[in-house]
């Protein structure tokens, strides 16, 4: 269905990524926001606080991030589309209730504007160090969806996409922004409401009495209802059966957790989104996401000017990871170059998917600034020398001392 006109600020704007994310949420139909101030994500909450009252939304600044995450889960059950935003330290605090959202299968969106960590780290400076936390940060096994925008325009578009995916697959969707993307100001074009596709909640057509809260459909996702409609549902963070009732057995655990994982994995082909260029004739493929994909641009352009055959993949959905794409490419390319503002996280996924078929070169950065494009350029050059050899070990194995 199309976006509701109220809340859609159609036109060309000059916005930073945080504000664009807030506008994306409004356009997607988000009408509940609970958050806690944290740099560099605060501007999302600030814009929502100013915009919501006029469109019938409720903004509440909670006492902490655990409360913010819990509140958006409650609000989603109350029948609205809900989101929160945060950065590293707050993201850590939200993990508990992100897990509850996964277990209760609650559609909602969490924007994490990443900064340098660990701990308080670099509050005002960029990082991409929460990418593995996005995948595995909450305890237990589960599937999750994470998107990575690389411009204010993308912050708008991907936030809408995040809401749509969360409604479709009933899972918290993480918008993994970074400080650069969040704070850079660029032109953002917001289309007409009837040009914006939004996914409504998958409400059950069954009446109370026949409806089972966790009876999954063919796509492994169950339909939802709203509190107060007479369904008198029970839902719990405990392992549960199709009625939503706790069942403390290995069998129930196996059935539920495998489905929570499979509803993302089995639908990954439909969820995946990435931009590819020149992959067919590439000797080296640069795999990047977020702000680093734009820094890599300069390096790739320089390499292309040199006549090198460089392909590129920009990951938009980082999770689920497009392993198949990497696996296929590994057979016909020399190397993958993976720049990211961390000490090597998504490169591990690339390496796993490449399975030794092509060399994997990690271009790391500890955070606080973007890469010098030269480092990526040199990695591309290094990759051309590769020729299918496995990734070089970080250091030579220590020689055993003779007794």
């Amino acid at each position: 269905m199309k976006a509701s006109p109220e809340g859609v600020l159609t036109g060309a704007h000059y916005l930073d990524g945080d504000h664009a994310c807030a506008e994306g949420a409004l356009a997607a139909g988000c009408r509940f926001f609970a958050g806690y101030p944290i740099t560099p994500s605060t501007e999302i909450a600030e814009r929502i606080a100013r915009r919501f009252p006029k469109v019938g939304g409720v903004f509440i600044q909670m006492e902490d991030e655990m409360a913010s995450m819990a509140a958006i889960l409650g609000a989603a059950w109350g029948g609205v589309k809900a989101m929160t935003c945060t950065s590293g330290p707050g993201f850590s605090l939200m993990m508990e209730n992100i897990g509850l959202g996964i277990m209760m299968e609650v559609p909602c969106v969490v924007a994490n504007v990443q900064r340098g960590g660990p701990s308080t780290g670099l509050p005002t400076m960029v990082g991409q160090q929460d990418m593995m936390q996005a995948r595995w940060g909450s305890h237990g096994d589960y599937g999750i969806i994470a998107l990575s925008p690389n411009s204010p325009q993308e912050c708008f578009n991907r936030t809408i996409q995040a809401f749509n995916l969360s409604e479709k697959y009933r899972v918290p969707v993480l918008v993994m922004m970074d400080e650069c993307v969040g704070h850079m100001t660029e032109k953002v074009v917001i289309p007409e409401p009837d040009e914006i596709e939004v996914v409504p909640r998958r409400l059950s057509p069954l009446p109370p009495g026949e409806y089972l809260p966790y009876a999954a459909n063919g796509d492994k996702v169950p339909d939802m209802v709203t509190a107060g409609e007479g369904y008198r549902i029970h839902t719990t963070g405990l392992t549960h059966d199709e009625r939503g009732y706790p069942v403390m057995t290995a069998e129930a655990q196996d059935k539920l957790v495998r489905r929570l994982r499979a509803k993302i994995d089995d639908n990954a082909g439909k969820i995946h989104d990435y931009e590819c260029k020149r992959l067919d004739e590439a000797d080296v493929v640069v795999v990047s996401y977020g702000i680093t994909s734009r820094v890599a641009r300069a390096a790739i352009d320089a390499a292309l000017d040199d006549g090198l055959r460089v392909g590129e993949i920009r990951l938009i959905t980082v999770w689920p990871f497009p392993s198949g794409l990497i696996r296929d490419l590994a057979a016909r390319t020399k190397a993958f170059v993976v720049p990211e503002i961390n000490l090597g996280q998504i490169v591990l996924e690339v390496e796993r998917a490449a399975a030794g078929g092509a060399r994997t070169i990690s271009v790391t950065h500890a955070g606080g600034w973007v890469h010098d494009p030269q480092t990526i350029y040199h990695a591309i050059r290094e990759g051309l020398r590769g020729n299918g050899a496995p990734r070089k070990p970080a250091r030579k194995p220590r020689k055993e001392k003779q007794p």
């Binding site: 409360a67 409650g74 029948g79 589309k81 996914v199 107060g228 549902i233 029970h234 706790p246």
Partner: protein, 320 residues
């Protein structure tokens, strides 16, 4: 001959059944398919559930519009047995979850039922802030003086000198005085009862449910398996007897004077009942109307405006 007897007996039984149907009087309020429950014999939580259900009955609430949110622990399991929209959330977080549920769906009456450890220790920050905001929630805290689900550890309400598995030589920490905490944080209704005072507790829960704003009822309840046994306070019946002997009803008592000491007198009653304090949503609506006038997009059913939620409009029409 045997068949004839069987038939005769069978029809008599069927007849009896129509007269004396073995239905629990609380059946409309309970998920009968989840029984037996997990609580120990002599536990006070079931009594609180009965009083809550009785209060719903007396108040003639539309049960489709009441939701219960619990956290983790023995008392956290209440949500699992009550036949309302019921949410069993994470440890300490039922109040913020309930806040989101309430703010997104104004037609719902949202009740939090959980334990002392859940609401006052790990959830203590949420508790005081919801009270400060005067969010329209009723919070029923079942205080059994220990973490029972995990085997009887010291809690934020354990009296000084009481034994627990983590205070094997007696508790030396000062406990929270729950009514004082709630009142000083801004709760508009604060009462304390025990699981012995079922009639007064039921009336108090009903008062709390019908009063707008953050209303709080503490219920002192025995934990026979872990707390009262370890502290040699006797069986549950004996503990209820001690509630009868040791409780003093003092309506309007200054909440700061109702501390609980080990073996001491327990002051119970309705301590706070403030009139006229605006709730979170009333304050929000008033402030926005002042600032924005007609531009304030407060929807009577604003959640239906949410793009993609159109289906709800039909549902609501059916319901009303």
């Amino acid at each position: 001959m045997r068949d004839a007897n069987k038939n005769a007996r069978g029809s008599a039984t069927a007849e009896q059944e129509t007269i004396l149907e073995p239905r629990h009087p609380m059946e409309p309020f309970l998920r009968m398919d989840r029984f037996p429950h997990i609580w120990c014999p002599g536990c006070g939580i079931g009594t609180v559930v009965t009083c809550f259900a009785d209060a719903l009955k007396k108040g003639a609430f539309d049960l489709d519009r009441v939701a219960v949110v619990s956290g983790i622990g023995c008392s956290g399991r209440v949500a699992g047995y009550i036949k309302l929209d019921s949410f069993h959330t994470t440890h300490g977080r039922p109040i913020p979850f309930a806040t989101g549920l309430h703010l997104s769906n104004r037609k719902l009456k949202v009740v939090v039922i959980s334990g002392d450890g859940d609401l006052i220790a790990i959830g203590g920050n949420h508790f005081i802030h919801a009270a400060r905001r005067n969010v329209d929630l009723t919070v029923i805290c079942i205080n059994n003086f220990n973490y029972a689900m995990t085997g009887g550890q010291v809690g934020p309400g354990t009296p000084v000198s009481a034994l627990s598995t983590t205070t094997p030589f007696g508790n030396f920490e000062h406990p929270f005085n729950l009514p004082a905490l709630a009142a000083s944080s801004g709760a508009v209704y604060v009462a304390r009862w025990t699981s012995l005072h079922v009639r007064r507790l039921t009336n108090s829960i009903l008062e709390a449910l019908t009063k707008p704003g953050f209303t709080f009822v503490e219920v002192i309840a025995p934990c026979p398996t872990l707390y009262t046994r370890r502290n040699k306070l006797g069986t549950s019946i004996e503990v209820l007897g001690s509630y009868r002997d040791n409780c003093e009803i003092r309506h309007g008592a200054d909440p700061s004077t109702v501390d609980i000491t080990f073996g001491g007198k327990i002051v119970i009653g309705k301590f706070v009942d403030v009139a006229g304090k605006p709730t979170f949503l009333e304050s929000l609506d008033a402030a926005m109307q002042r600032a924005l006038g007609k531009e304030y997009g407060l929807g009577k059913d604003y959640y239906m405006r949410s793009a993609g939620q159109r289906a709800l409009v039909d549902r609501e029409a059916r319901h009303d």
